[in-house]
Amino acid sequence: MEALLEKIAYCVEFGKINKNAPYPPDMKGQEGADELTKQAIEQGIGANDILGKGLIKGMEKVGIKFRENKVFVPQVLMSAKAMSTAMEHLKPFFQSGDVKRKGIFIIGTVAGDLHDIGKNLVSMMIEGNGWEVVDLGTDVKTDKFIEMIKERSASFVGLSALLTTTMVNMEKTVREIKAQIPGINVLIGGAPVNDEFRTQIGADFYSPDPQGAVEYLNKYVT
């Protein structure tokens, strides 16, 4: 059992999606996260173990390597793809309640901003660490954030911005969300954003990298 879970973690860490995937070249023709997760379920390994000791373990390693500049964005995206492919097999266990996520995280790029790579990276890393992520996409109006936070009873929301003009929208969005949902925890990120700006606009957390957001959220997991 442990060996199979380690293999799953390895496939996620190195972005091996399935047997047909040509990447990584040194694993060509080998089974990937897709097939191995299916095998694990067939062997009766618990979904919680597959998630925690396989998929999440692999993504955690990628997150740390990314922070340390040992892997880069393309490799992280491949890991996320491997993870999401494997997660398809676990969907029934989430739906039945056999496996529980760590919490719900709402994310989106703020109004007026169409950029998404930073948001996508954060979204993938957080999902890959066992959270349910509701990705509202780009150019998200404040009302939409508020509506979704209320609908899903979420405790955490992440706002992304790449443009200096949409940083202004980020401030308005944070203030409006905080006014309507006082207990909410707002995370912000994006190339022009920094911790000083976070303080200025009243958000709760800023991280220059996705792993920082993961670690912040995981502090709230009991």
């Binding site: 500049n69 880069f72 393309p74 491949m78 443009l163 200096t164």
Partner: protein
């Protein structure tokens, strides 16, 4: 303060090769911030006007050239122009640089069918007209055109996340797409040269997301083609990369670009220790967190600290880490240049 009088007296350069030598040998520190959009506070108008009307862009460059003693000027950075020439749909905004609405190409079939546009398509003609006006009317310092790099352009056409994945899953088609982008960019850079400019600033932000090896394969190898095509004693390439690691320096230097420009995520001392001493190395005051959003005293302190740290490198030119945005207070830009002047007066 009469900033215009405070700068370096590097004038009447006969060619860019000698200009580079004069900057390195000046004995004083110099600056070339990426600065165009804040010119609107002097000329009036909106960001939309700069990116769609040549005369507005030219006036912004001109007014900033008259006010600030930059050692060279960079034209407006709008990294949607080239993608639009290929047919991408653009989202324009009064106060913000345009964005790409959606990806133009979705698969390898579309990559192979993609046609390389001619120069003058879409807004490239307006940017070239602005370049011509700048070349004709700004003669005391070099003026550099500005365009996107080949990997970043491929990302704009194919979607940047998808492009990253394509490099690993299908390197062959990645190369085909980047090669088509390069073919266009070579001619676009040449068109800037024919307008009479002294160089081209190539912004390659997406390459900063790659490892050094991948940067070499998917960006630098193609930038090298552009450099070989246009760079000579009268025209230089400045290559900008805003990645967060000094590991990219070697790959960038291999392009042959005579200027290397870095974003604010890197330590300039690490960069300078790795960069060839015969290249100009530009960087890297945070354009938003510091230049736009800080107070003048903080800007002065950051600039002086950077100048002090880099004092041992005569090939270093003070710059912003990227484009200084529209809406940056005039006093903040004043502070940037005042700090330079105060440092040089010491």
């Amino acid at each position: 303060m009469e900033l215009r009088k405070a700068g370096l007296k590097i004038k009447n350069f006969d060619n860019i090769k000698n200009w580079i030598a004069s900057v390195i040998g000046a004995g004083l520190r110099s600056a070339m911030p990426v600065l165009t959009y804040p010119g609107l506070s002097f000329t009036g108008g909106k960001v939309r006007d700069i990116v769609t009307r040549s005369e507005v862009q030219y006036k912004c460059i001109k007014v900033l050239a008259e006010k600030y003693p930059a050692v060279a000027r960079v034209m407006a950075m709008d990294l949607s122009v080239e993608a639009e020439a290929f047919g991408a749909h653009i989202d324009f905004n009064d106060d913000e640089i345009p964005s790409i609405k959606e990806r133009l190409i979705h698969d390898s079939l579309m990559i192979n069918k993609l046609e390389v546009p001619g120069i003058g398509e879409a807004r490239t003609s307006e940017f070239l007209k602005a370049a011509k006006l700048a070349a004709e009317n700004i003669s005391d310092k070099p003026v550099f055109g500005c365009m996107i790099g080949p990997f970043s352009l491929a990302g704009r056409l194919f979607d940047i996340s998808e492009m990253m994945i394509l490099t690993l899953m299908d390197p062959e088609n990645s190369h085909i797409l980047i090669e088509k982008c390069t073919r266009f960019l070579k001619e676009y850079a040449l068109a800037f040269k024919k307008c009479g400019l002294e160089g081209i600033f190539i912004a390659e932000p997406a390459a900063g997301l790659l490892s050094a090896g991948m940067c070499g394969e998917f960006s630098s190898a193609f930038v090298r083609e552009i450099v070989d095509y246009v760079q000579d004693d009268g025209f230089m390439v400045v290559l900008h990369n805003c990645g967060n690691t000094g590991e990219l320096v070697e790959s960038m230097a291999l392009t042959g670009a005579k200027g290397l420009h870095f974003g604010n995520a890197v330590d300039m001392m690490e960069i300078l220790s790795k960069a060839p001493s015969d290249r100009l190395v530009f960087g890297n005051i945070d354009p938003v967190g510091i230049i736009k959003n800080s107070r003048p005293d903080r800007i002065k302190s950051e600039v002086k600290n950077l100048l002090k740290k880099t004092a041992g490198y005569s090939n270093f030119v003070l710059s912003s880490g990227c484009d200084i945005p529209y809406g940056t207070p005039e006093e903040n830009i004043d502070a940037f240049f005042e700090a330079l002047e105060e440092y040089n007066m010491k």
